[in-house]
């Protein structure tokens, strides 16, 4: 097991440097040199320009700049935002819990619905239930989620006004952020009904963000189950006289989960991309909305830092999924 994880960690090192290279190269590829970028529209006098170039070390050869950049990154200094002048890291981690909370609810929604649906579709292969689930998941898979979000808002928030249109908590409650996870903070605070309100705000965005992962997990669980059900050891389980429920729930499911875990792992990167869209539609104060805002307002250092931090969080989550994969796959555990 340790060997497997060590190998996975080993792979992440070059990828991390790859991402720092992309982030570093991103600024250098911009028109003009970094100081002009820093100055922005205000422009800067030539001497000031030269002085800044030397001071910030932009006159050194490229590879030295890259090394000093990586040095800063490893110490957690990802530069300051051009707009708010606050360190990018600080802004990122202020907003990260919101996206994490939304992402977690979305993936939970996708797993709790997707896996049972996939199993039922596989067990009842070819039946109407199977075709129904599969066509629904195909529609879910083909869904432009930004439009799907708008549609749900029109339907549920506007006409049926069951759910709030945007934001994480209604203005009636003021809950001071402790962990940044609204569901946790509202519980900690003594505001009556704030937890339910936060939950209320989470419903629609999680459904929208979770739609594509749900469709993918349902389809992949079904094909994993079908693959497993045709294996020899399932026939052995039946030959042992075990009941069909036990054959499917114990023998088949455990093996199918090994493939499904990797699928869930892949969905994490998709989730973050979806978060950008969902947060824009629902005005959700997360890093997706923040990165869009930075790109629009040409806050290049924020984009550079955001890019790096999002990539690192994706890599971290992938490592956790690898750990889970190792735990349930005996070939690796023993």
């Amino acid at each position: 097991m340790f060997k497997f994880l060590f190998k996975r960690l080993l792979v992440l090192v070059p990828v991390f440097f790859g991402v720092t290279l992309v982030a570093f190269g991103f600024i250098r590829a911009l028109p003009g040199d970094p100081v002009e970028v820093l100055a922005g529209e205000r422009g800067v006098t030539p001497e000031r320009h030269a002085e800044l170039m030397a001071q910030l070390g932009f006159d050194k050869p490229m590879w030295q700049q890259y090394l000093s950049y990586v040095g800063d990154v490893l110490q957690g200094d990802l530069g300051t935002s051009l707009i708010t002048n606050r360190p990018v890291v600080e802004e990122f981690f202020e907003l990260f819990p919101a996206t994490a909370e939304l992402g977690l609810c979305a993936i939970l929604f996708a797993i709790l619905l997707g896996i049972p649906a996939g199993i039922i579709a596989a067990v009842k292969r070819g039946s109407f239930v199977d075709q129904g689930i599969m066509s629904l998941s195909l529609v879910g898979y083909s869904m432009p989620i930004f439009w799907w979000g708008l549609l749900l808002i029109i339907l549920f928030s506007n006409t049926l006004n069951l759910t709030p249109v945007s934001g994480r908590l209604s203005f009636l409650f003021d809950v001071e952020p402790v962990t940044g996870f609204m569901l946790v903070d509202t519980l900690l605070s003594d505001e009556e009904g704030s937890f339910w309100n936060a939950l209320h705000h989470l419903v629609l965005p999680s459904v929208v963000l979770g739609t594509i992962p749900l469709a993918v997990i349902a389809r992949q669980t079904r094909s994993a189950m079908l693959e497993v059900l045709s294996e020899d050891y399932v026939r052995t389980a039946k030959a042992k006289g075990l009941s069909p429920v036990r054959v499917i729930a114990v023998h088949a499911l455990r093996n199918a989960m090994i493939t499904v875990i990797t699928v869930i792992g892949l969905q994490v990167a998709v989730l973050l991309a979806g978060a950008i869209l969902t947060e824009t539609i629902f005005g959700w104060p997360g890093i997706g909305k923040w990165i869009i805002f930075s790109v629009f307002s040409r806050d290049y250092f924020a984009v550079q830092g955001g890019l790096l931090l999002i990539a690192v969080s994706v890599m971290a989550v992938n490592l956790i999924v690898d750990l889970l994969y190792g735990l349930i796959n005996p070939r690796i555990l023993h």
Partner: protein
């Protein structure tokens, strides 16, 4: 009263190109403590008949028979729930690929005690002693430590021993072995076959050995059933069959063996086993039969004295 009594068993699969008759009229009677071999080439339906007995065929299969009795119980009309009470307990089956027939996610001990818990109740842990005893009985060294081992940590021979331990856990009356040693090396095959015969004698259970290897039949079985393209063409005591085969296919099969070759070339059987799309009229073996006659090409033969042939070969010293 015979332990197993099967009469005119047929199995038909619904495929994209019409019905495929994988098993066409198998008769088999079996008593306690007997070893019967079912031999035939691939596609002869030798495993399908036994899978039908165990109820392990996919839903596309249609099983029909005049009679299918096991220990007095009628397997045809039995409900799936009742059938699950006897398979794995009174009838059990081991398969060809030991490495893939064990569940990779569970330890060996878990998979064996599961059968005991299923048929004798109690938790799996309560059957730990019996599981260790079973592992020792099938010749697995250091049984306690191997209890927690996973299938990918064992060799092919060891996995097959675990399968056997699992399937004799409830002292079955009938054990069906579907090509148990085809995937194993020669020396390991000898060990497994010897183990099966020892267990069969020790527990007095009946053993059905499905194989394509005539040599394994000669050294293990008492009686043998020869299958060709889904049909049961001959059923004789092993000694008589080898000395004096009466169906042309059995004779050709024995002559084709490298051991029985005289001179440089083997006497191969020309042609190919008929598939679903090109089944000949009359006797299925007629295009490849040395003794074929006009009658064979028109009307399918009926079985007399357990030989499915219009002109069975004469017994030694008896004119046709």
């Amino acid at each position: 009263m015979a332990l197993l009594d099967i009469c005119n068993l047929s199995v038909e699969f619904a495929t994209a190109h019409g019905a495929l008759k994988a098993v066409d009229g198998v008769d088999l009677k079996l008593d306690e403590g007997e070893i019967v071999a079912i031999v035939g080439e691939s596609g002869s339906g030798k495993s399908v008949a036994m899978l039908a007995l165990m109820g392990l065929l996919p839903w596309t299969a249609k099983v029909t028979a005049d009679r299918m009795l096991f220990d007095g119980q009628d397997l045809l009309t039995m409900s799936a729930k009742q059938r699950r009470k006897i398979i794995g307990k009174d009838i059990s089956m081991i398969f060809q690929e030991p490495m893939t027939s064990l569940n990779p996610c569970f330890s060996v001990g878990h998979q064996i005690s599961e059968v005991l818990a299923q048929h004798f109740g109690g938790s799996r842990r309560s059957h730990k002693a019996r599981t260790i005893e079973l592992l020792q009985q099938v010749g697995i060294p250091a049984a306690e430590t191997r209890l927690k081992a996973y299938p990918h940590q064992l060799s092919g021979g060891m996995c097959q021993r675990v399968m056997i331990a699992m399937m004799i856990a409830c002292q079955p009356k009938l054990l069906i072995a579907d090509e148990p040693t085809t995937a194993l090396d020669v020396t390991i095959q000898a060990q497994i076959l010897e183990l099966l015969v020892e267990l069969q004698q020790a527990n007095g259970m009946a053993l059905v050995l499905i194989t394509h290897d005539m040599a394994v039949v000669a050294e293990t079985a008492d009686r043998v059933v020869v299958q060709y393209a889904g049909q049961q063409v001959e059923q004789r005591a092993v000694k008589d069959l080898f000395e004096n085969p009466r169906h042309p296919y059995t004779q050709a099969l024995l002559r084709a063996l490298p051991e029985h070759s005289q001179g440089e070339l083997l006497n191969a059987i020309p042609g190919v086993v008929p598939g679903q799309l090109d089944r000949p009229v009359g006797c299925l073996f007629n295009p490849r039969c040395e003794h074929v006659q006009e009658h064979c090409r028109q009307t399918p033969p009926t079985r007399n004295e357990d030989i499915l042939c219009h002109y069975p070969l004469p017994l030694a010293g008896q004119k046709p």
